[in-house]
Amino acid sequence: MDALTGLLYGLSVACDASNLLLLLGGCLLGTLVGVLPGLGPVGAISILLPLTFQLPPAGAIIMLAGIYNGAMYGGSTTSILINVPGEAASVVTCLDGYRMAKKGRAGQALGIAVFGSFIAGTLGLVGLQLVAGPLSTLALKFGPPEYFAVIFLGFAFIVYLAQRSMIKAVLMTLSGVLLSLIGLDPITAEQRMTFGALHLFEGLNVVPLAIGLFGLAEVFGNLEKTASAKILRVKIRNLFPSRRQWLAAKWAIVRGSVIGFFLGILPGGGPVLSTFIAYGVEKRLSRHPETFGQGAIEGVAAPEAANNAAASTSFIPLLTLGIPPNVVLAVLFGAFLIHGVTPGPLLMTQHPEIFWGVIASMYLGNVILLILNLPFIPLWVQVLRIPDRILYPLIILFCLVGAYSINNSVFDIGVMVLFGVIGYFLKKFDYEAAPLILGFVLGPMFEVNLRRSLLMSQGSFGIFLERPIALIAFAVCAILILLPVVKIIRTGRGGRSPR
């Protein structure tokens, strides 16, 4: 099926009345949760996952994709109005968005964020649609050595692109791998680290882990704070950007889209990193860099475009290789498996309704979010006014039901609470939780493909150098490992991320 035929088929799936309703509901719920400070797309998908359990796989995945897109859109609202990012990818939007709001230009900031997100998200989807097919065909030729090399490359990118310390990112990734190995060995069915507990035989589930690390830990972090953010009391008007604003922001949107497009594909890159780079590029190219941080419209347009383009293209490795490139997609990967669908090169042929349905629904989701978000902004502002003392107990309740519903098991609630505490301590000790989740999701694939490769080669690591794709992947890994080493030698800085 070529890209155009596939898209038309996907539209026929997505335009089915029930799927359209699910998409609409997903977009609204995602935006609602995305608007709440602290709970980003990971929390949104994890907590709302139980809502999809009774749905057919295609409808469920379409709804979850809607939740993801909605959360990405919603995150900017809190950044602009209360200077608290709704999710990590909206941190940069605070810099100029909040300044614009303080100057009485909240409507313009919210408007350009919505339009920039729409344009970039749509451009990202065009790329996803064109690249996904050929990449799936190529991935069918992958054997265990190629898969191992690509996953290893993913780990290298996760560490290289870590927000803080690289050593800590490695430790978190390895901890995730170690946690993923709990349970029965996939090849010999031998028990590992189960301590005889029946609940651990099938291993830990990614969803309670993610809810704990990104939902409950966030609540713990917020409960201990003594002050809450203040919402600006400004009138939201002029949501439609004027011609002058379009002229000022158009290249920022284009450049942000391109940066987001490429960084979205990279494991460990994704929406968060792309916003920082897009903002930095815009500031460097601007004729008035001094206006950045003071309410420059390009400072809102570029990061918002970048994070939405990256959100679209991050589906490429997930749908074609079965490798989630960032933590949100890692949770979505878990959701695919819960619904009995394995993402990867065979998805396009075995479940074309899901593959093309998801892509088409994301196009529709972008349009829905554009149409709904502008009139709904005053409603989202009201959501922000819900007092913390009401909000946090309700989030805990959703976390509990979300964790329980995965296997209808109280044990999973215990796991979620445990990882909520672990997530809280990780924050205190300045460790990022995202590499842990990625290590956890990629861990089983990493193990199986390494062991199969060694079995194939009878213990020789030369197998990874004999295959061109594996060789290229390892060459890129070597560059990624050597770059910071060179940087450390040159600057004498120890263990910090190269940025």
Partner: protein, 151 residues
Amino acid sequence: MNQRDLAGSLFFLALASIVLVLSVLQGIGTLGHPGAWFVPSVTCVLMIFFALAGLVSAVRGRSGAACVAEAWRPVRWRKNAAVLAALAVYVALLPYAGFLAATFLLMSVLFRLNALTVKAALLAACLSSGLAYGLFYLLLKTPLPRGIWGF
């Protein structure tokens, strides 16, 4: 010396060392026939290496940098401890009391801890647990625990 990084590295060093010993005792196989504990042991060796690198980096870090107690100084940790205790009791109680009763109790405690009056906390708990029960159990057919009272 960065105490926070030092404590973190020591934790990972201890964890990886314990699992490595466990892996070696179980048998890791050979390169040609890697056993069930092969990847856990490789992972632990790498963790130990990077935890040691973290230790060195923490020891060589600038003095006056993050100390462990600093991270808790300006915060209300007692509230978190109370919430955690309430959650632990909830997990223990849920299979016996059922979703509705256990959740009502938990939400009452959580709302009360969040400075709502007793009356308001009970009302909010009643509403939130009832709505969650209606949405997940009655509407979405999630088989929530029923407890000894059957609901």
